[in-house]
């Protein structure tokens, strides 16, 4: 149980029509945060929720190498997330293409930047760049769909906390 349900540590903005930018600070060095994003076993432990874990099937961590992870959709089918590594500069920059099986032809470029802060923590900035505004909005809406269908228990908790 977390008591800080109201605390939002991830900030999100849309700097342009085709981008989604996220920022978050972690209590770890860039090396550790980098490892969390590139070690298959570690990545699998935080990428998906406990009730719908993500299986990291492959990570070929070299420029031009590919990655692939899978999860179950609500009907018990498989959704695959995959792409290629474009820029690998440990432990600072990791840039990949991102596609998923649900939307053929959809592709974004996701750039992860890690910056070491003075207090030993790390600021993570993730910029996801899409081919069009429609594609970018589709990505945001896919989250909405998930939220509408199964994410509202959390919202209920949040509302309850605000009212008390």
């Amino acid at each position: 149980m977390t008591s800080d349900v109201q605390e939002h540590k991830t900030s999100i903005t849309t700097p342009s029509d085709t981008e989604i930018r996220m920022e978050r600070t972690f209590d770890a060095t860039p090396e550790v945060v980098w490892q969390m994003h590139t070690d298959p076993q570690l990545l699998a432990q935080w990428l998906g929720p406990h009730d719908n874990p993500v299986t990291v099937e492959s990570i070929d961590l070299r420029v031009g190498g590919s990655y692939r992870w899978t999860a179950s959709d609500r009907e018990g089918g498989e959704i695959a997330f995959f792409g290629e590594y474009r820029v690998i500069e440990p432990p600072r920059v990791l840039e990949t293409t991102f596609q998923f099986s649900g939307v053929p032809g959809f592709v974004s470029v996701d750039r992860l930047e890690l910056e070491e802060l003075d207090d030993g923590r790390t600021r993570l900035v993730s910029i996801s760049t899409h081919e069009s505004k429609e594609s970018r909005d589709g990505m945001l809406q896919s989250g909405m769909e998930k939220g509408v269908n199964d994410g509202y228990e959390k919202l209920d908790e949040l509302l309850a906390a605000r009212q008390s």
């Binding site: 540590k9 945060v33 969390m36 945001l140 989250g143 509202y152 509302l159």
Partner: protein
């Protein structure tokens, strides 16, 4: 939540499973109150109450045609950009919370 105070009404309206089911049904096309009541087995009076809350949140609009009231999705659709972003942010926030926990576990700390 702080940066999107106007969404409070939307989220309150959405916090009820019956109302979410109504929106899902209306996403497939307009329906009358009795068509909406049928699958839920709810009374018309009970259903009307939920529709009214959705209407106040501008998630649904209704129109009286003869003796029946027709409902459809309202101007403040679920695809309202700020709510997409808020939901998207929330899903990443949860994911990064798990990453925080993993980092703490790795350090052998208890939070």
């Amino acid at each position: 939540m702080v940066q999107f105070p106007s969404l409070d009404g939307t989220f309150s309206a959405l916090s009820d499973p019956t109302r979410r089911a109504i929106l899902e049904r209306l996403g497939q096309g307009g329906a009358t109150i009795s068509e909406l009541a049928e699958p839920s087995g709810m009374s018309l009076t009970g259903l009307k109450k939920h529709v009214r809350i959705l209407e106040e949140a501008e998630l649904v609009t209704t129109e009286k045609r003869g003796r029946t009231r027709h409902c459809r999705l309202g101007p403040k659709r679920l695809d309202d950009a700020t709510s997409w972003i808020e939901t998207y942010r929330r899903s990443w926030d949860e994911r990064y919370d798990r990453l925080d926990e993993l980092i703490a576990r790795k350090k052998g700390q208890t939070r």
